[in-house]
């Protein structure tokens, strides 16, 4: 093949498939070959699905052959985080507790992507049940950062981010509960979007924290992200927390520029805890926007200092409940050593979950316990309301809030995995968007001296994904981020 499709964007692949310059099967095979060749180094995929991928690609090619009208992403491969249900494909959520489990039903996001001709390449690695910021806490071993194999790709959607960065796939889906799409996107140098809560159906997403989880796209550029977002968003009868999304494709608005937009930089996210190199990179973004005539001001989110505490109470409370069903009675791992019902539960769960998940289940069980509920869970809910108001207040004047995504660039494997608190701090900048339910985008904005990617976060008003994507697109064009590719030999 003269053309290496693995260098193309999703937009470009879609166009070439529609115009019969390349078949969906050729595209799919090229990516499957690259996964086969390189994923041994990365461990981005838990499970490639070559047979499924090829059969889906042939269906697309058949439609192309018949001259059927196809969407922009028909024939484009996508990698799916292994907490999103694809029927018949073993879905582990990175946990031993789900070993052998195959969904008998289809997640809404996969149903929508499938109907639009996207090709599932496989299921990607993640921290167990999406709990983590490094993709080290997986029953399937850690994923490596393509930019430095000794470093983590971020998490929990680390497999998806690493796969996009290493061009093992042009598109991927992740899930973001406290930064799990944006932080790995930032650490791997790709674009990641956490949509507004309620804009993408969670039906078929293995729940971590139901009131915070959102599925989001990862891609090499903003336009591709917008296309994948358009493919999956919108009300779903099967998810009562979804709403009607404002009409019109987001992707078409991406090129409309940012004239007149006002940008606020939360002071709380530019202070202590942010690595100077990252802070400098963000300042350069601000300078560039100012130079473009964009009004940039410092803003305050007064309750942000409580976001880590609030987040870990709410998320763990919900997780303790959501994960209670993994008892080995109907599916997944079941202990060999059950003597009675009690030991069936304790041993199955004791063997199925790794320490980080257990830690969060215990924390969540504690904060919901009688006598502690008011002091922890209820107080956290009140703080959440206050944070949402902080955002509403600031968003009255500012269209976009701009901050780092991660306090640091990709850290070394093992560096934080022994210290949960240190790991929790990695989410400092991203948690508040989940707590407030607002959309947030991570866009590459430069490289560190060590050659590691740095991302900038853009947070918008609810259901104004188009606004942050527009700004992301402008930054892509204006920031002169070197067009580097990780060297995987």
């Amino acid at each position: 093949m003269s053309l290496d499709v693995t260098n193309l964007t999703a937009t470009e692949i879609g166009r070439r498939v529609r115009e019969r310059e390349v078949s969906a099967e050729e595209v799919t095979q090229a990516y499957l070959n690259r996964i086969e060749a390189l994923d041994g180094k990365l461990n981005a995929f838990i499970r490639p699905t070559p047979e499924l991928a090829i059969s889906l690609a042939r269906e697309v090619d058949e439609k192309v052959g018949k001259g059927e009208s196809l969407g922009p992403l028909a024939g484009v491969p996508v990698a799916i985080k292994d907490n999103i249900s694809v029927p018949g494909v073993e879905t582990s959520a990175g946990s031993r507790s789900l070993r052998g489990y195959r969904p008998i039903y289809e997640s809404t996001v996969w149903e929508r992507m499938r109907q639009q001709g996207l090709i599932c390449l496989g299921k990607t690695n993640l921290d167990e049940f999406a709990m983590g910021s490094s993709t080290e806490h997986s029953a399937f071993g850690p994923t490596s950062n393509p930019w430095d194999l000794d470093r983590v790709p971020g998490g929990s959607s680390g497999g998806s981010a690493a796969a996009v960065a290493a061009r093992l796939t042009p598109l991927a889906l992740g899930s973001d509960t406290g930064g799990s799409v944006r932080q790995p996107a930032s650490l791997c140098g790709v674009v990641g979007l956490k949509p507004t809560y309620g804009s993408v159906s969670r039906f078929g997403l293995i729940a971590f924290a139901s009131s915070l989880d959102q599925i989001g796209p990862l891609a090499r550029n903003v336009t591709d992200s917008a296309l994948l977002f358009d493919a999956i968003r919108g009300r779903d009868q099967r998810d009562s927390t979804t709403v009607d999304y404002p009409a019109g494709p987001t992707a078409e608005k991406v090129e409309t520029g940012i004239e007149g937009l006002r940008v606020g930089v939360p002071a709380e996210l530019m202070g202590e805890g942010i690595h100077p190199e990252t802070r400098d990179a963000i300042r350069r973004v601000v300078d560039r926007l100012s130079a473009l005539g964009i009004q940039v001001g410092e803003v305050h989110l007064p309750h942000l200092e409580h976001s880590i505490a609030t987040y870990y109470i709410v998320a763990c409370a919900e997780a303790s409940s959501n994960l209670a069903r993994y008892d080995g009675i109907r599916y997944g791992h079941r202990t060999e050593a059950a003597e009675d019902l009690e030991s069936l539960y304790t041993r199955t769960r004791g063997e199925g979950f790794a320490p980080e998940v257990k830690r969060r289940i215990i924390l969540g069980t504690y904060v919901l316990s009688s006598g502690y509920y008011d002091a922890y869970y209820l107080k956290a809910q009140k703080l959440r309301t206050l944070m949402r108001r902080d955002f509403q207040e600031v968003h009255r004047e500012y269209d976009v809030l701009l901050s780092p995504v991660s306090p640091t660039t990709a850290f070394r494997k093992g560096e934080k995995s022994e210290d949960p608190l240190e790991m929790y701090l990695a989410d400092l900048c991203t948690l508040s968007a989940n707590l407030a339910g607002v959309p947030a985008l991570s866009v590459p904005c430069g490289f560190s001296a060590e050659g590691l990617p740095i991302g900038v976060q853009l947070m918008g008003r609810p259901f104004e994904e188009a606004t942050i994507l527009r700004m992301g697109r402008v930054l892509e064009q204006e920031l002169d981020v070197p067009d580097r590719m990780p060297d995987l030999g």
């Binding site: 293995i206 099967r238 009562s240 927390t241 008892d327 009675i329 316990s369 009688s370 509920y373 869970y377």
Partner: protein, 481 residues
């Protein structure tokens, strides 16, 4: 028992008559079906599924709240009640804890001619669990999830009930209301109506409640009153001995007629309730509540009053006829054919219900249609057949499902109201009983009853007794007058 005043509160779980389950599209028509054949990813709680509220279940719940005089919450909410058990696939039950769909309300019952008002605390929606089947000496259990996520409405009373009899009357009235609403089929044996009782005693004249026991596993109205009676006696004995009643959950065993301790307060679950994040708050607009109020059918108390006022029935008869909606419907349908309310009421209570009870049939399955019963009364009222013959005709109707006129014609049971036909019989009876004629003429006029009876006997009951009476009097002359 006069030393202690029993204090009883009831928690009733009502299985709502919806076509599908509370949070998924699975059919609720699983009775008698293969285990685990009425399940889907959602009610099995597979990883990643989400609940969607059944609008019909909400609608029925709203109607029920209104029917027991409660207040519908415009904003209610679902919560997760968490505990581990194999019949609960998500390890939490979606229920309503802090903000139930209904608050307050009351049901009136009549005991010894006086009305007692039982206050209702709250009504809330929740999903049912599956069922564990313990395999005999197999060392393991099986789970059937068919019932999982079937909609329930839990109705909780204040501790207002004072006797097992009141508890039974409350349940009967509640059942009656639910049937009128079409909210549930209320089959206690099949578990579509389940009741737990909180029972405590306080010294007579006191207003301080004692510690209570919660009684579970009562599967019939009779079991409820027996279990409460047992529990009252058990607690009284403890108190008499100077011992304390332990707050605990106790299980009723119907065969031994006893309750036994299931778990104490110390072992009580901490359910760790918290708001269900997968379901938005439930909003019922004021105009929807108003509409539901308008659409409520006539309820048992109102219907009973109407039967008393419009049809001159006694309170007792009206009560029996309206306790079950189907019986009241039957009565009023028959009334359309023959507007003789008292006779219909008697026939339904004595004959029809007697036969149906004997055969274990519901009135909906009665072989005698309301129209046929009306026609039968018509035949009696018009003098075509006697009341006595009518019972024979009814038996024939019940057996063959045929209209009464046909049976009368076929068996030649028509009443003989032809004077000339009867005169000969009357003459022969008089001839055979000269002593009675003597007595009659001597002033013992009651003897005429005997003579009428003889004529009836001769005519195999077909003679018109009124006419026979007249003829006899005429023949005997005015001597006895």
């Amino acid at each position: 028992m006069t030393r202690y005043q029993p204090v009883i509160g009831l928690e009733t779980h009502v299985q709502l008559s919806t076509r599908s389950k509370l949070f998924c599209g699975c059919s609720t028509d699983y009775s008698g079906q293969e285990p685990n054949s009425f399940v889907c990813a959602v009610c099995l709680g597979l990883p990643g599924v989400l609940p969607v509220l059944n609008a019909e279940a909400l609608k029925i719940s709203v109607r029920t709240v209104l029917a027991v005089n409660g207040t519908v919450s415009e904003d209610s909410r679902f919560d997760r009640k968490q505990y581990f058990y194999p019949d609960l696939p998500k390890a939490y039950q979606i229920s309503q804890f802090e903000h139930p769909i209904g608050l307050g309300g009351h049901i009136d019952v009549e005991l010894d001619g006086a009305v007692r008002r039982i206050e209702i605390t709250r009504l809330h929606m929740e999903e049912d669990a599956g069922k564990l089947v313990h395999v005999e000496d197999g060392g393991h259990s099986l789970v059937d999830y068919n019932r999982c996520s079937v909609p329930l409405l839990e109705i909780v009373t204040e501790p207002d009930i004072r006797s097992p009899e009141e508890a039974r009357l409350y349940l009967q009235k509640l059942k009656s209301i639910l049937e009128y609403l079409g909210a549930s089929d209320c089959n206690m044996e099949e578990g579509s109506l389940r009741c737990d009782a909180n029972v405590s005693l306080m010294p007579a004249g006191s207003s301080l409640y004692g510690s209570k026991a919660e009684i579970k596993n009562m599967n019939s109205f009779k079991a409820v009153s027996r279990a409460i009676q047992y529990e009252i006696e058990r607690q009284a004995e403890l108190l008499d001995r100077g011992e304390k009643v332990v707050q605990e959950t106790r299980l009723w065993d119907d065969s031994s007629g006893r309750t036994s301790s299931m778990r104490s307060k110390e072992d009580a679950h901490d359910y760790r309730y918290f708001p269900e994040p997968d379901l938005p708050p439930v909003r019922v607009e004021a105009r929807e509540i108003e509409q539901a109020w308008q659409d409520l059918p006539e309820l048992p108390d109102a219907r009973r009053q109407r039967l008393i006022n419009d049809h001159g029935l006694s309170g007792y008869d009206a009560g029996v006829l309206t306790a079950q909606k189907a019986i009241a419907d039957y009565f009023e349908a028959a009334l359309q054919v023959q507007p003789n309310s008292k006779s219909l009421s008697n026939w339904i209570q004595s004959e029809l219900l007697g036969y149906l009870n004997r055969d274990g049939l519901d009135i909906e399955d009665s072989p005698v249609s309301p129209g046929s019963l009306g026609e039968l009364i018509q035949l009696i009222d018009s003098g075509k057949i006697s009341g006595k013959i009518a019972k024979e005709v009814f038996a024939g109707m019940y057996q063959t499902r045929r209209p009464p006129a046909e049976i009368v014609r076929e068996k030649g049971l028509e009443q003989i109201s032809d004077e000339s036909a009867l005169e000969a019989v009357v003459a022969s009876v008089l001839e055979a009983h000269p002593e009675q004629i003597e007595s009659y003429r001597g002033g013992k006029t009651k003897v005429i009853g005997f003579l009428v009876g003889q004529v009836m006997k001769e005519t195999r009951g077909q003679a018109n007794p009124g006419l026979v009476n007249q003829l006899l009097k005429k023949k005997l002359g005015s001597g006895g007058a």
